[in-house]
């Protein structure tokens, strides 16, 4: 019984979300599903090679075509979804956790702690991330998802940390925080129970943004070959497509389908982010919905509408 009511609450909560968030969550769920069951339903071994010398166009046996060596693109994508999604989520979690810790500590403690933490995050913020990643990952002995996730997390937190620090700073001197101090709450409790719950929207948005950054960067890294080419992800497919001169051969399926998958995944995250934005800032929502009065919509600069009784239909 409790399980069902929890489910119902969850469904009700989902129903209240803005449309953008719903679409985003639906697409993301699809990717997560594929990440879970993809390898099991892949029709071919993604590593399978044939003697074939040219990429094969989509057909009944290979729905998304094959690579130049005869590898099935659909299978490669189905298998490659899991590392891509896991890498994004893990990096998002670690980087967001780091940014929350650093951001709230810097904002709440202030003084020298703030100076030092801010300096640290600013330095990392101005490092050119991609070249640095290429250099670091190029020299790591076992380049793979774990190494990539660690390095991406280490470079991905400062942006969120700055935003959260700014929010903490503005909230630190709010009366309710001062009042909690008056009551005698300890700093850690104030941070955990008074400050953080008020920043959930911000933290969630920062998490979604970081996941997107991690996915796009990992794909870019794989594309230029800075990854373990023995495991599949969207970037690796693109790397092989590039290596196999897919564009010159006119083998569009080789790069369009994985490219589309990256774009869709990215779009779902962006949509969720927009949705979260609307959720935490109701004005974004109402400005569009409520300005439709009568049969026309009103710009904010328009004079106050005059709608007398019974005039509604005439507008």
């Amino acid at each position: 019984m409790p399980a069902r009511s929890a489910l119902r609450r969850f469904a009700a909560g989902f129903g209240r979300l803005p449309l953008k968030a719903k679409i985003g969550i639906a697409i993301l769920s699809l990717f997560i599903l594929v990440a879970i069951i993809g390898p099991a339903i892949a029709p071919y071994d993604p590593f399978a090679n044939t003697t074939q010398a040219t990429p094969g166009a989509p057909n009944g046996q290979h729905l998304l075509g094959t690579s130049a060596t005869g590898g099935d693109i659909l299978s490669q994508m189905l298998v490659g979804t899991r590392p891509t999604v896991i890498l994004g989520l893990v990096t998002g979690l670690v980087a967001t956790a780091l940014s929350v810790v650093v951001g709230t500590a810097a904002g709440y403690l202030g003084g020298y702690a703030d100076e030092i933490l801010s300096l640290f995050s600013n330095v990392i913020l101005v490092l050119p991330a991609l070249p640095l990643l290429v250099v670091i990952l190029g020299y790591l002995p076992h380049t793979g998802e774990v190494a990539t996730a660690i390095v991406l997390s280490a470079l991905g937190w400062p942006w969120g940390a700055r935003v959260i620090r700014a929010q903490t700073l503005s909230m630190r001197n709010r009366d309710f925080v001062l009042a909690a101090r008056e009551v005698g709450e300890r700093p850690l409790r104030i941070i955990l129970f008074e400050l953080l719950p008020n920043q959930i929207g911000l933290i969630a948005a920062s998490f979604v943004g970081t996941v997107l950054y991690a996915i796009l960067t990992s794909v870019a890294l794989a594309f230029i070959g800075v990854t373990n080419l023995n495991s599949w992800n969207y970037g690796v497919i693109l790397y092989w497509a590039q290596n196999g001169s897919a564009v010159e051969l006119g083998a569009w399926w080789w790069y369009v389908f994985p490219g589309l998958a990256v774009a869709l995944l990215g779009m779902s995250l962006v949509l969720i982010n927009f949705g979260l934005d609307e959720l935490s800032n109701p004005r974004l929502r109402s400005s569009r919905v409520m300005n439709r009065i009568g049969r026309r919509s009103w710009r904010p600069a328009d004079p106050t509408p005059v709608i007398r009784e019974g005039m509604e239909a005439a507008l």
């Binding site: 009551v183 005698g184 129970f193 409520m290 328009d302 106050t304 007398r308």
Partner: protein
């Protein structure tokens, strides 16, 4: 100032005529009918004051009448007709504001009807010089050469009492009062015939407020525009308005010549408002206040909307038609929406019990003073700041003593250092000099080792009840945490019953209704009660109250002060009441300290200090406070403002 009220007779045509205006806000939860069939006329050279509590629709009415409200606000009925000299040729029957299009309205706004907005800080663009902002407006509405426009700007800025050199300043370089004067200059730039002033002096200190009002009156007499003056402060209107219109729940409940209101309004709501203001002069009269909260404006309100809070309420109230009309025994032109209550009719029996307990104590109100709990000696606080790292002293050696069962009021204007004293005494800020003594022992409350022990005895109530409760926690959470932390200190456990006890102490009953409420579900007064309950959880001996009522509506203020006063006597609390309002200090405090530029300039028993202020600054403060009773006396009295060492005229911001 005001001629014996030349009442708008039928022959005089109003320059702006609002009749039967209905304005609603549409929302998913239904229509909020914020303004309901309001009639209002503005006449040239006259000031109409619009008073009422927050949410009564006074600003909505004013902005709606010039169609400045944004959707989801809509005008649902009525008419607004403007009859200006300059537009009379094109509109012989008057300019129908509600039928006008965008382009026509642009000609009307500012040129014919100008608005002075409440917050001058936000209404001025921070990155443009004052001159640029003035010139922008002049050029948009008048076709004149640059040279002429510049002359006009200089003329305007001098007109409102600012030196023309200041035209090159940026808004942040001007004080609040000067910024508001700039706003007035901008509003008058193209000689409008109607000026709408929306709380133009709210947030300014009383001395500056007084000056700006005087200047506005002089300009009105000189230029002959009509003024719609919106404020929540009825006593202010009694000083400047020719006619007072009181709104409640979107409807006009009383419209009367100011002199009539000064002698006491007719409508019970007007009387309640008048009875809510502590007076500065004359004997201390019984304050009544208005218990309860305004009604929900969604849907229909049958009969009189004030019914639920009215001491005179009867069954017939639900049947009446809310139209202001002449009442038997009223002065000419005095209209009230209440057909049952005659002018001067005494409050019915039992009404006083719901009113304030801040009654007049016996003569010589020096109560036997309890033991000394907390004292500050030579308190100093310097802030290092500014670009050149100069030191600013916010508090320059202040002594004060808080005794059990006594209220000490610290009165001063913004920037006088009074809030800094609260921060020092509560341990939020570290002392630069001097010492704090608790029970005669020196203590530094800002150090971590002392802070928690100190909090057991000294608690604080914050100014803004909307900010001092975490929006994500329930009332129960707030109180339970306070109880738990306090229980841990005393080694005594806490029980659920304790939460109930706290709620009962601050009269939030029935407790089941408030226990699990979130802050946003409570009104301002209720939130402030929760704040007070939280402070009481530690069973303190000292309560620091930093402007505990300044963010609340006039009618609610008394209730909260009453509550604090009652707690004072019940628990023998020592209270420091920090306020800018010397009149409330007179009623509420035993002793008043007047603070100016970080120093205490005068101190004494409350009544004595208010009656016979000796320091020039105290005298100025009292002379500037709006007070309905002293209007006639004040009329031609010399203004002390300009004789006191620079306190009358504000200095520039830097």
């Amino acid at each position: 100032m005001s001629t014996p009220d030349a009442l708008p007779s039928a022959t005089a045509t109003p320059v702006l005529e609002i009749s039967g205006l209905d304005i609603a806000y549409r929302s998913e939860a239904g229509e909020v009918r914020a303004v309901r069939g309001v009639d209002l006329d503005l006449h040239p050279g006259k000031i109409v004051g619009l008073a009422g509590e927050s949410g009564c629709g006074k600003s909505t009415l004013a902005y709606g009448a010039v169609r400045l409200l944004r959707p989801p606000a809509i005008v649902t009925g009525g008419s607004v007709v403007y009859r200006g000299r300059r537009l009379s040729a094109g509109h012989p029957d008057g300019f129908d504001v509600l039928a006008a299009g965008d382009a026509e309205l642009r000609r009307l706004r500012w040129r014919e009807i100008a608005i002075v907005f409440q917050s001058a800080m936000n209404a001025l663009n921070p990155v443009l010089r004052i001159s640029e902002q003035l010139l922008d407006g002049i050029r948009a509405h008048l076709e004149i050469s640059d040279e002429q426009a510049r002359d006009r700007a200089r003329e305007l800025i001098e007109m409102v009492g600012i030196k023309p050199e200041r035209l090159n300043a940026y808004p942040h370089e001007l004080s609040g009062g000067m910024r508001q004067r700039v706003m007035i200059a901008m509003a008058l730039a193209v000689e409008p015939e109607v000026v709408i002033m929306d709380e133009p002096t709210t947030g300014l200190d009383v001395v500056v407020q007084k000056e700006i009002l005087r200047e506005t009156m002089a300009l009105k007499d000189q230029l002959g525009f009509a003024v719609l003056f919106i404020t929540h402060d009825l006593s202010l209107l009694l000083e400047i308005a020719d006619r007072v219109v009181v709104m409640y729940a979107g409807q006009v409940v009383e419209s009367a010549p100011t002199s009539a209101v000064r002698h006491g309004g007719i409508h019970p709501y007007t009387r309640g408002l008048l009875g809510s203001f502590p007076r500065l002069r004359g004997p201390r009269v019984q304050l009544t206040g208005i218990p309860g909260t305004p009604p929900d404006l969604r849907g229909e309100l049958p009969g009189c909307p004030f019914h639920a809070r009215c001491a005179f309420a009867q069954d017939a109230c639900l049947q009446i038609d809310m139209r202001v009309q002449a009442v038997n025994g009223a002065e000419p032109g005095q209209l009230s929406a209440c057909p049952f209550v005659a002018p001067g009719q005494p409050l019915p029996e039992g009404a006083v019990t719901s009113g304030s307990k801040l009654t007049v104590p016996a003569e010589g109100d020096a109560q036997p003073s309890g033991e000394l709990v907390l004292s500050g000696q030579g308190l100093r606080k310097d802030y290092r700041g500014g670009r050149r790292g100069e030191v600013v002293s916010a508090v320059k050696g202040v002594d004060l003593e808080l005794h059990r069962g006594r209220v000490v009021a610290l009165v001063g204007e913004s920037g006088s250092g009074k809030s800094t004293i609260a921060k020092l005494l509560s341990g939020q800020e570290r002392l630069t000099g001097g010492e704090i003594l608790l029970d005669g022992k020196q203590i530094d409350p800002s150090t971590r080792s002392h802070f928690r022990a100190y909090k057991k005895d000294v608690q604080m109530v914050f100014q803004d009840p909307f900010a001092s409760l975490n929006p994500l926690h329930t009332v129960r959470y707030h109180l339970q945490r306070a109880l738990k932390l306090h229980g841990a200190r005393t080694g005594r456990g806490h029980a659920v019953a304790d939460v109930e006890r706290l709620l009962e102490q601050v009269s939030l009953t029935p407790t089941t209704k408030f226990r699990d409420a979130y802050p946003h579900e409570l009104s301002g007064g209720q939130r402030q009660r929760v704040s007070i309950a939280r402070a009481l959880a530690a069973e303190p001996r000292v309560l620091l109250a930093d402007e505990p009522v300044s963010m609340l509506d006039v009618s609610i203020r008394l209730e909260i002060l009453d509550l604090i006063s009652e707690l004072r006597s019940r628990y023998q609390l020592a209270i420091l009441y920090i306020t800018h309002d010397i009149a409330s200090a007179r009623y509420f405090a035993d002793e008043i300290l007047v603070m100016h530029h970080g120093e205490i300039v005068e101190r004494g028993p409350a009544e004595q200090l208010v009656q016979n202020p000796t320091h020039p600054y105290t005298q100025l403060l009292i002379a500037s406070s709006p007070d309905p009773d002293t209007f006639a006396v004040q009329e031609d009295a010399p203004e002390p403002g300009h004789q006191v060492d620079g306190v009358g005229k504000e200095g520039p911001g830097r």
